[in-house]
Symmetry: C2
Subunit: 656 residues, 2 copies
């Protein structure tokens, strides 16, 4: 295995990932967000977890008073670990050692809470607490262990094995002992340990971690967890992983589990298991995913809905589910090389992951609704939000899994841009970047990418270094170009139309050669599958990979977005500052309308027609909404199309 | 106050209720359900509550072991009380004394658990339990007391004050002491005590119970309850009752509170408070009520949604919310005399309350969705269902508030049929019935009603007894007749068209006189307000007061309801056995369609058209669904109307 700073390092698969030491993002959309993440979000999360006592829980545990003093939910430890993971990846491409020192300081708080046998959790197992592993349905103990392990792997890969990594190894050894053959033959209510153990096996070369992950994947669906009010599917414990046809239940749980299943499938060459997850991904993307890439339809249990249940105003679309979806797509892309996985990752990164943090990186959306009907109010700055859904981003939540998940995702984002194989380099996501790697037989390749993506139409790749023989440069042509035309221009100036999928140039490259991809960036109307009941009669706008929305701050006279109707027979046009302008109208009830009537009426009876004023409707990228104060917002906009014709009147009451 | 078997006995108001001793239902739709309720449901609930230990909790409390042995949720006591209330009302018009004996037997189990100061709750206050009133947000202690008081009032009115009523009085006195001036100046997280205390004040003439209810109504909205993850609105503690503009938060809580507010307003002549509740009712009916009359859009917190958030496939529409809505409409009807309140009660009774119990009265819907996408499976017969939502009715639930609420509603249903005032008798709901009452000055009136309602078009009222002078017979002309014509025929044969609202005949009646109301019963298409996003492009069928639905058991070839499209330009027709047949089609994806594609597509790109086969679609009354085995079901049906025209294609990528 190559030594590299890799978030995911499979030993097999179609494509070889490039590490954070091989890809640098140098400018543009993601560089700005990554800078904010490094300079603001990491510190913000650290401050909050000191303030709300989640870091203090480890001190309390080491001092024997955690049964009395513990703060936060049962899974609070995991957010400290996710922050450490983010810090470790970030330290991997940072010149100064400040983050390393911070990681050591935090590790010095955490490690003393570890028990002699390696068990480490501040919520269970000490006198006055519930026994270890007594509540696998809700206790999140192995989930927390998994995040500790991922933090340890990040430290090892980014900076070399330190105390954090050693603490994680001891925890992993404990998990293998406690849950191995002859141990507790059950699973954790929240998957995460599976993918973590496989990555640890990859980082250490130790087979036993992979074996334990395989055991967990095999046990899932055997109903070793008790049924709760949400049913066995909530925990993905209704069906074995390889028998399920679609993702279901709690969305983050389902997606983390699928990541672990892909990891196990790849490392054990289990093609059936891999094919099962691919099938589940296909069905989930075709029937259970919002236009933004967001996943999860139910607030009650944070779960997927039934097929085609995708209500925009009740979209849960948890930020963490988006992070997990990107993790899954990345693993499937590496395993198969198919661009459809990068397509979904792009959609999800631009329209959910990028939507969560505020411009200053100090407030977050936990859920990412596609329709907000009431203006939000600013959450108090120093109180954690008790609710997941909010009309404005909140600085912290009672359940605050999302901020640290955004942080660790932005920290590794450069690794998602490109891969290599024996034959060349593949570009999957477009950003200003410097890429340098070595193909087989020591053939060094270096590229720089320049683009204004996602607003600009062109991506230019400059060959900075190239080996003597021919090799292949591949570029993903996004699925959103279908029905329009993308163009690829080679170093020789030859230009050809390319279809959605992968465009390749196999040739001898010379330093200074330019390759250019031109994408059809005109904004377009998007319509839903007719089986999505909640979207019938509504359309959305997408421009490149970005989904757009109407936001009330852009409407005249204090109007709200529910007054908007759009006319899909007219083409939406580019507006100023990245906005799009669509033909449409603002409606209001007719004058004198009391508006307190029963809202269902016989079709054979005339209804008062609303008053409509024709106007251009300004739409903005969805990821940017709610950065200009409280507003209402919607992605899916009803059309101005006339209602169905009235039926004939019924016969009147017969003469008695 | 007249002595009568009255569920609600206001001392003021526009209309005077008639008691269960004045109105008898003698046949038809409701008589069948009432018979099943008396002969099956009451015993079913009693057996289950013995089986699951909720009755045993009282024994355990009396024996000092309840801290160890208690079963069920914190509010389990309340279901025993609601069963007792149902038994007491039923005993009020039953010839044999079996129910009285059963009430006495159960009371002998309950009363010993009462503490010397009158406190009675099996979940709190004893050694090893949480202290009394230490968890007003979730503890439901006053909610349970309220249901005990309502059971005591029922016994007093139906059979005279017995041990149950005495136990309830002691509990009420304790509540007034504990929560009166100088006591705990807070409210219960679940309203119910308010309406119960007013009714106790009416039954006993004791002012202090009314005063205590007024205190509770005034305290609500002062944020004396802690904020939970669901926000202050969940407990209606966000705004004072008289300041709120619409019902919000947990639907059953909101509706019980509104009932209590009307009761207090009526007894204290507080017209402003009454007007506030009427305004809230209007806004709730216009913007937050499903076509069936069901209320509640969110599963997460069993709450109302924002205005016009009425997703049919996620309708919560809890049976208990329907019961509470009928209670509220009845109180508002008595206070104002306005038929719109009886209209909503009719809709809710036929389409939610009647939908909950199975034909045999031994299984129940807790939620009443308007669209079921997957076939349900039969719940095991002897296990309480952990989930509220189900595709088939379940015999019992871990939270089983609904069965006993249906039982007490069916027990008092005859009282909802008619009222009197100084000038005459008003008929509000139509069923075969015998009505006998006495107007002012001892003027005895007796009527019999004969009808096949809700399937038949005619209601015939025979005057059986009439005083010498003129008086007024009023009949509600349902709101669902608007746009069609209803006819009223007087004893003289004179026939006139009558509009939705109230039709009156003021005259000298003679025994044997017949009055006939003929209603336009042809099935009709109903369309939604365009602001209800979840229903755009869909229509429903209503016939008389009954909402109809498509159910998969009526479709050919094992097809599911999501394949159905209907054509609203053709009139739906009456079919056999109460069914309706609508013109429509069954759709399926085109041959060779893989059906695993991204479900959103550019409108400028051709979409594969589904294959549609024209056919008649059989629709059945919604209340009857899921009585023929597992099925999918939907009320709102997409139309065959063509989608909006495609927009022009975007310009293709420009030459670089």
């Amino acid at each position: 295995m190559r030594s590299s700073v890799l978030p995911v390092a499979p030993t097999r698969g179609r494509l070889r990932p490039l590490g954070l030491d091989e890809v640098r993002v140098t400018g543009g959309f993601w560089a700005r967000r990554r800078r904010t993440n490094a300079t603001a979000t990491l510190g913000h999360c650290h401050e909050w977890m000191e303030r709300v006592g989640w870091i203090g829980n480890f001190r309390a545990a080491a001092q024997g008073r955690v049964h009395r003093d513990r703060r936060g939910r049962e899974f609070a430890d995991s957010d400290v670990y996710k922050l450490l993971e983010a810090m470790a990846w970030e330290a991997g491409h940072s010149a100064d050692g400040g983050l390393d020192a911070l990681i050591d300081t935090l590790t010095a708080v955490i490690a003393p809470a570890q028990e002699p046998d390696g068990y480490l959790n501040t919520a269970f197992g000490r006198p006055g607490q519930q026994p270890r592993y007594s509540d696998l349905e809700w206790g999140h103990e192995l989930y927390c262990s998994g995040h500790l392990i991922q933090a340890g792997v990040a430290q090892t890969r980014a900076r070399g094995e330190g105390d954090l990594a050693k603490t994680a190894l001891r925890a992993a050894d404990h998990v293998c002992t406690a849950f191995g053959p002859g141990g507790i033959e059950r699973v954790c209510g929240h998957p995460e340990i599976e993918t973590a153990l496989v990555e640890l096996a990859r980082a250490t070369g130790e087979q036993r971690y992979l074996d334990q992950a395989s055991l967990f994947i095999g046990r899932r669906g055997q109903r070793t967890l008790a049924e709760t009010e949400f049913g066995h599917a909530y925990h993905q414990d209704d069906l074995p992983v390889r028998e399920a046809s679609v993702l279901r239940g709690h969305a983050v749980r389902a997606l983390y589990l699928a990541c672990g299943a892909v990891d196990v499938a790849v490392e054990t060459a289990d093609d059936d298991l891999l094919a099962a997850v691919v099938r589940q991904w296909e069905a989930t993307v075709a029937r259970r995913t919002h236009l933004t890439g967001g996943m999860g339809s139910h607030h009650r249990d944070e779960s997927f809905g039934d097929d085609f249940v995708l209500p925009p105003d009740r979209a849960y679309a948890e930020t963490c589910a988006a992070v997990a979806s990107v993790m899954l797509s990345w693993r499937l892309l590496l395993a198969t090389g198919e661009p459809r996985f990068a397509d979904l990752a792009e959609r999800t990164l631009f329209n959910v992951v990028a939507a969560s943090p505020s411009d200053d990186g100090r407030a977050f959306f936990y859920t990412n609704t596609l329709h907000r009907r009431r203006r939000g109010s600013a959450p108090p700055a120093h109180v954690q939000s008790p609710r997941a859904d909010s009309g404005l981003r909140a600085p912290w939540f009672a359940v605050s899994c999302c901020p640290t998940n955004v942080a660790r995702t932005l920290a590794v984002l450069p690794a998602y841009l490109a891969t290599a194989d024996d034959d060349g380099v593949q570009l999957h996501q477009y950003a200003d970047a410097e890429i340098a790697t070595t193909l087989t037989a020591g053939r060094a390749v270096a590229l720089s990418v320049r683009t204004d993506y996602p607003s600009g139409a062109s991506v230019t790749v400059r060959i900075d270094r190239s080996p003597p023989g021919p090799w292949t440069l591949s570029l993903r042509v996004p699925e959103w170009t279908r029905g329009a035309t993308a163009w690829l221009t080679g170093p020789d100036g030859a230009r050809r139309a390319v279809a959605p999928g992968t465009a390749t140039l196999a040739r001898l490259f010379r330093p200074g050669d330019l390759v250019r991809l031109d994408l059809p960036m005109a904004p377009r109307w998007i319509g839903p599958d007719p089986r999505i009941d909640a979207l019938r009669g509504a359309v959305a706008v997408q421009r490149g990979p970005l989904v757009y929305c109407a936001e009330s701050v852009d409407l005249p006279d204090g109007r709200e977005v529910d007054a908007v109707r759009v006319d899909p027979s007219a083409r939406p046009e580019d507006g100023p500052d990245g906005a799009v302008v669509a033909a449409g109208e603002l409606t209001r009830p007719p004058d004198g309308h009391a508006d307190d009537a029963w809202p269902y009426r016989p079709l054979d009876q005339d209804a008062p027609a609303p008053v409509a004023e024709r106007t251009g409707i300004v739409l903005v990228p969805y990821h940017s909404w709610a950065n200009r104060g409280p507003s209402t917002m919607r992605v899916w906009l009803p059309t101005t199309t006339a209602p169905p014709p009235p039926p004939p009147a019924p016969p009147s009451g017969k003469q008695p």
